[in-house]
Amino acid sequence: MKQSETGDPVPVLALTDVSKSFGAVRALREVSLRLYSGEAHALAGENGAGKSTLIKTLAGVHRPDTGTVLLDGEPVDFQGPADARDAGIAVIYQEPTLFADLTIAENIFMSRQPLRSFGRIDHAAVHEATAALMRRLGVDLDPKRPARGLSIADQQIVEIAKALSFDARVLIMDEPTAALTGSETARLFSVVRTLRAEGAAVLFISHRLEEIFQLCQRVTTLRDGCWIASEPLADLTEDDLVHRMVGRDLDELYPKQDTRIGECALSVRRLTREGVFFDVSFEVRRGEIVALAGLVGAGRSEVVQAVFGVDRADAGAVEVNGRTLPPGSPTAAMDAGIALVPEDRRQRGLVMEMSIERNIGLTGLDELGRAGLVRRTLERGRATDWATKLQLKYNRLSDTVEVLSGGNQQKVVLAKWLATEPSVLIVDEPTRGIDVGTKAEVHRLLSSLAAEGLAVLMVSSDLPEVLGMADRVLVMHEGRLVAEIPRDEATEASVMAAATGRNGGSGEEAA
């Protein structure tokens, strides 16, 4: 590690008083950050706090309006991402972009393969170099394997290996764990620890606070483009960190109200889809929030999709307010009062290139006018109404939803469905990938909707969310409903035990 004259370590990469504006929007205001080699440094902040702008400034995509980027204590001026890469700064994005038809080794050494005579590619050398990188990372991946079919986790490893092959000293990871399972995350973390031990500096971004505490030594927090604090994580609790990010406390995250639980709104009986889920029966009552918990792949999303009718169940029945739904018809489910906020916001929740108002209007095309004609004033009115109720942050309702942050996109999806005035609201991972502040808003909303008599069915992989919000927890394991746990008995241990199939006992018996 390089030392300055005074004996303090010199940060390998630093920002001092960097500001960056896009027109009227001040994305960063005099933000400073110091990254030392050998540390994993977390960057925390809500969506829109300026994290992405900061990363892009470090990666040479943006140039700061004022302030400087320092590399080993020397000011540098990156003209583009290539400059940053040559300086040893690598960025690993959430969804890597590999060439699917090339092998892992070819992807890593793309266009700079070691050559033999006459410009022939030295495949043996490429494979050997790749294998060496994999050994260094402590990962078992075959260099000759094509990238197609690799999991996102493996693709990230390939990107990291590629960064190493460029002798990267600074690794910036932008929400790398968002799409990973628990064990994949663990492997990623062990790779990061290896790199850290070799002296690399890692800047890590995640919405999952427990990961930040697990992996990192220090954290820099941004809020609304401003620097809030840089400090060692050892001195902090999760509550402290949330407080710095949003300026409020953690108990506000799960504002569950007590409600009067009414008659049965949704009744699912012996629903089965061959090879996906089997014999699933449950009820959701008015005023109740029921969580559907379980591991990824347990069949939870598939169940709610069959309930809503976008997938067709092979057997079983769905009843809403006493009416049996025809199978496989989302339109009938909507007419009966079901709304489904799907897990995949970008593919299924929204038409990304359509405007906010049109997305919100999409579920009410029949009601927004007469004789099939859509009345734009009605459409706008509906959108304005719900945008206000949900405190959506937007410029114009005619902007496409693409430009909104993840949290605000989720609010548009919620608006679109609440506008149908459902009696049963199904939400699938309602707060995945959205910032803490919006998360709290979504929870408050679900809670008050339930208090007004809505029946809420919530699929969630976020255990604190499940425990904090649900009146009852249903747990699925390998396509079957294995447990039903009332609120006062639901703990992390009891839910996880059921989700991993360790107790078959308290399973809901088939009617």
Binding site: A24, V25, P342, R348, L350, T363, G372, V374
Partner: protein, 366 residues
């Protein structure tokens, strides 16, 4: 829809181009602006224009139908065969429309129920329908249609008091209806949603498959109807009528700024695209430009029509990325028609080279 896009929208560009071609034509070519020539020029695109309407809806919904010209030929051949057998057109028309509906149903069924991509399906039915046409009529031509029928299709008879031939008058009415359906109804909104993101449309309770099926049926029926117009207009029923016309229809629609990937475009743009191709073709014909050149220019125009909107999109995207401030839609500095038609885009004319002999084509305006 995006801030800057309003100024650089391709359909506006085509509209301006259309006016420019019209003015240039009137100025440079004697007879171009005469009502007689204009009605001939318009009527010459009648089938293309009619089929372009449902095709626009299909492409907006992210689908395409390549079998339209074959359906036109099938309908024409069937009309000829039935006429030979002594049927009247009052009986022939509904039968042909039913056949169009059946063809559309087959296309739509293969796409929505079997789940095949529309491009592949309709390449198949393109061959199938043309083959059926040959089976019905072989390579003979039926050409003895009386004036009482053909007057409804040629440019020589016009809506009283105007220079507009009947097929074009019908097209105008249908275009207005289609525009309202596409841009002002819930159905139209659904088409844009399906074209932009089919999954999201489906999850919003839109009956995606039913709507797609309906679009293919509409297109089939309209193609069959266009087959009748074609037959009467040229006074000749042949199995190879309208060969290759599907490409002109699709070129017109794309030229009008309808995104081939679905989800974007306006009906006004598509209509402007059709008219532009019709006028340019007429203008080049009047100026005795050789067919080879016309074909080449058609090809260039096709490429330009697909390329330019993409370039515009990339440019405005890049600008938005460089200065993404909200509220500032003012960055769109260039006016749309800054460089009108340097290259003169015409189009090829598949039909009348092959057109029957006995009817003198309206070469010279009176």
């Amino acid at each position: 829809m995006t801030g800057l896009g309003k100024f650089l929208r391709w359909d506006t560009v085509v509209g301006v181009l259309l006016i420019a071609v019209f003015l240039a034509g009137t100025g440079s070519t004697e007879g171009f602006g005469s009502t007689g020539n204009l009605s001939a020029a318009l009527n010459d695109t009648a089938e293309i224009a009619l089929i372009a309407l449902p095709m626009t809806l299909l492409v907006v919904a992210g689908q395409v139908d390549l079998s339209v010209a074959s359906m036109l030929g099938l309908s024409s051949a069937l009309a000829g065969a039935l006429w030979d057998a002594g049927w009247t057109f009052e009986m022939i028309l509904p039968v042909c429309l039913l056949v169009g509906m059946a063809g559309g149903l087959l296309n739509g069924w293969l796409v929505t129920r079997v789940g095949l991509p529309s491009l592949a399906v309709t390449i198949g039915t393109l061959t199938l329908y043309r083959g059926l046409a040959s089976v019905i009529l072989g390579n003979k031509a039926v050409a003895d249609f009386p004036e009482t029928y053909s007057q409804w299709a040629t440019h020589l008879e016009t809506v009283p008091g105007t220079f507009i031939p009947y097929p074009i008058a019908l097209f105008a009415v249908l275009a207005v209806i289609t525009a309202i359906v596409l841009h002002s109804t819930g159905f139209g909104r659904s088409l844009f949603a399906i074209g932009a993101q089919e999954d999201a449309a489906y999850f919003a309770g839109i009956r995606v498959r039913r709507i797609k099926l309906l679009l293919f049926v509409l297109t089939g029926v309209m193609s069959a109807f266009a087959g009748i117009v074609y037959t009467l207009r040229y006074g000749s029923a042949r199995a190879d009528n309208g060969l290759g016309l599907e490409l002109v229809v699709i070129a017109s629609v794309l030229l009008g700024g309808i995104d081939f990937n679905g989800g974007k475009g306006t009906l006004g743009g598509a209509v402007a695209g059709v008219l532009l191709i019709g006028l340019l073709n007429n203008l080049l014909t009047l100026n005795d430009i050789s067919n080879e050149i016309r074909v080449i220019v058609t090809g260039l125009l096709l490429i330009a029509s697909v390329l330019t909107p993409r370039l515009i999109a990339v440019l405005s995207e890049r600008r938005q990325r460089l200065n993404p401030p909200p509220g500032s839609g003012t960055s769109g500095s260039e006016p749309p028609g800054s460089g009108p038609p340097q290259q003169r885009p015409p189009r090829q004319r598949p039909p009348q080279e092959r057109a029957p002999q006995e009817r003198i084509t309206r070469k010279a305006p009176q």
